[in-house]
């Protein structure tokens, strides 16, 4: 596994090592972000094709912050959250009303809620175009 600060992309000057270190706090988190970069490039290659490695690292970091806001800290939940974001749109948790509502539904545990969202998203994607998104 490569350390995040060793990753180089075309926009090196926009996000150098010192800025990157501002975004990350410890080696474990850094390693997880790199692991998620591999995960997204493997499963959602076209969705992340436009990102260079630096851009993708920051997008993952921003999405993890959002996941954290909704109470997701386990690696499994975070990875599932990232997968949904890659598939449905990086602001899926704000833009899709039923997702937004489900994420704030206090009736069930966060992990269970996310699993339900994941299942529903798959069902709706199979149902046909634009059935996931409200518009």
């Amino acid at each position: 596994m490569v350390a995040l600060h060793q990753v180089r992309g075309p926009h090196l000057l926009t996000l150098d090592k010192s800025r990157l270190l501002q975004l990350t706090r410890n080696a474990d988190y850094e390693a997880f972000v790199v692991q998620m970069m591999e995960h997204l490039r493997k499963h959602f290659p076209r969705k992340v094709a436009d990102f260079d490695d630096m851009g993708l690292a920051e997008q993952i970091h921003q999405t993890l912050l959002r996941a954290y806001d909704h109470g997701y800290t386990s690696h499994a939940d975070c990875a599932r959250y990232l997968g949904l974001a890659a598939a449905l749109g990086w602001s899926f948790d704000d833009d899709i009303p039923w997702v937004r509502q489900s994420l704030t539904d206090g009736a069930s545990e966060p992990t269970e809620r996310l699993a339900q969202i994941h299942q529903r998203a798959i069902r709706m994607l199979r149902r046909g175009p634009s059935s996931v998104s409200p518009t």
Binding site: T24, F32, H43, D53, L65, G83
Partner: protein, 413 residues
């Protein structure tokens, strides 16, 4: 590192090698020799994922997800040396708050954008902004020359403090390149939704005119091209502030004229305009009095609310008195108690004029038709057609022809 050298990254992170000629000299050489038909070129992969692809990707990704253990726990928090703050703005024009405008906050480095819409009082807030970054504000459909920052005050501490960074989007804008028209939409309503000038939007789609479309009439599934955002439409803004933004912009308003059965305008009756998704969910939206000539002008409801909105007018007729003499020569006064009437209608749902239901909708809006013969030329529709034709000096018959359509179209605008 020379510019042409590929970056040294972990093999798993490297993007797949491209099909540039230089990547595989041998293959490139043979690809340009002999009859090309002999080569079974691989079919190009589609550039975007289908919904089915995404569903499968989500499922296969989940198999890997189940193998993950551990936690990010408290790790994804912002570095303590970053000071996060907020920016609040209230947008007004000379008539009052500007609701439903799309406001974009841009960050220069690393590039990012946040998009928000003003609420009913023209207010918008962006939280989690780094004081060290450069920010620019853009109001969709309003050029920088048409808005200026008036009052500027520091945000109180409780509103300035933010614990999490803003949710920046790396894409230039959330606006897609095209929009597929739905039932009831027009160039104007689409322009309002995306915060684009309606004339500019129509200019980008004028080719539709040859297919009998207009700014007011689109067909479901028409693909509307959305012009790109202009980078010059931005102004630098400070963060940690509360801004009063004054706009010189004319936002559309709805104007209604109330007339009695004889066509005489009502005067100053009180009217409450309510809106909601159904009759049971109506919420008051505007209260006021007719202006003396039966008119009332109300701000347009926000696009999102309008999509399935039912609008109700509660008209309160004032107490009136009539003096007359009864048969015994005694002067009597008869007082009419205040009364009210509720009128309901659903805006933005007109079918094309080429359909019977489209003609019925327009006749209903003009007060000629009120029935439920949707799409059928029933007796009520025929009567409405005859009345309309009579009033517009057309041959009095109960049919729909081009002359009738053109007259109805002109009257409906």
């Amino acid at each position: 590192m020379p510019k042409t050298e590929r970056p040294k990254i972990h093999p798993a992170l490297a993007t797949p090698a491209s099909n540039q000629p230089g990547d595989d000299i041998e293959r490139h050489f043979f690809a340009n020799c002999g009859p090309h038909e002999a080569w079974n070129e691989p079919e190009p992969e589609p550039e975007t994922d289908t919904d089915e692809d995404l569903a499968e990707a989500l499922e296969s990704a989940d198999e890997d997800v189940r193998k993950l253990h551990g936690s990010t726990a408290s790790t994804p928090t912002e570095c303590s040396n970053k000071h996060l703050t907020a920016l609040e703005a209230t947008l007004t024009d000379e008539k009052g708050p500007l609701a439903g405008l799309t406001v974009l906050l841009h960050r220069a480095e690393p590039p990012g954008v946040i998009e928000a819409k003003t609420d009913d009082v023209g207010f918008v807030r962006f939280a989690g902004l780094d004081e060290g970054d450069k920010h620019q504000l853009q109001i969709r459909g309003v050029p920088p020359s048409a808005w200026s920052i008036g009052k500027k005050a520091a945000l109180p501490d409780d509103r300035a403090e933010c614990s999490h960074a803003a949710k920046w989007s790396l894409s230039k804008s959330k606006r897609p390149k095209t929009h597929v028209a739905q039932q009831g939409e027009s160039i104007w309503s689409i322009a309002q939704y995306y915060g684009i000038d309606a004339d500019e939007l129509w200019k980008a789609n004028e080719a539709l005119e040859k297919d009998d479309r207009s700014m007011h009439v689109l067909f479901p599934d028409d693909e509307i091209t959305l012009p790109e955002d202009d980078d010059d439409d931005r102004q630098d803004v400070p963060v940690g502030k509360e801004l009063q933004i004054e706009c010189d912009v004319e936002l559309p308003r709805l104007q209604f004229v109330f007339k009695d059965q004889e066509g005489k305008a009502l005067e100053t009756e009180a009217v409450v305009v309510s809106g909601g998704a159904s009759a049971a969910e109506l919420q008051p939206w505007f209260e006021g009095n007719l202006d003396g000539s039966g008119k009332i002008e109300v701000p347009m409801p926000k696009y999102d609310e309008r999509a399935s909105m039912l609008v109700a007018f509660d008209l309160k007729f004032p107490e009136t008195s009539t003096t007359y003499e009864d048969v015994d020569g005694l002067e009597m006064e008869h007082v009419h108690q205040p009364s009210s009437a509720q009128l309901l209608f659903k805006p933005g749902h007109l079918d094309p004029l080429s359909t019977v239901s489209g003609v019925q909708g327009r006749l209903a809006n003009l007060g000629y038709y009120s029935g439920d013969e949707r799409g059928e030329l029933g007796p009520l529709t025929k009567r409405a057609l005859r009345d309309f034709r009579h009033d517009h000096e057309l041959e009095p018959m109960a049919t729909i022809d081009d002359e009738m359509r053109s007259s109805l179209d002109a009257e409906s605008k």
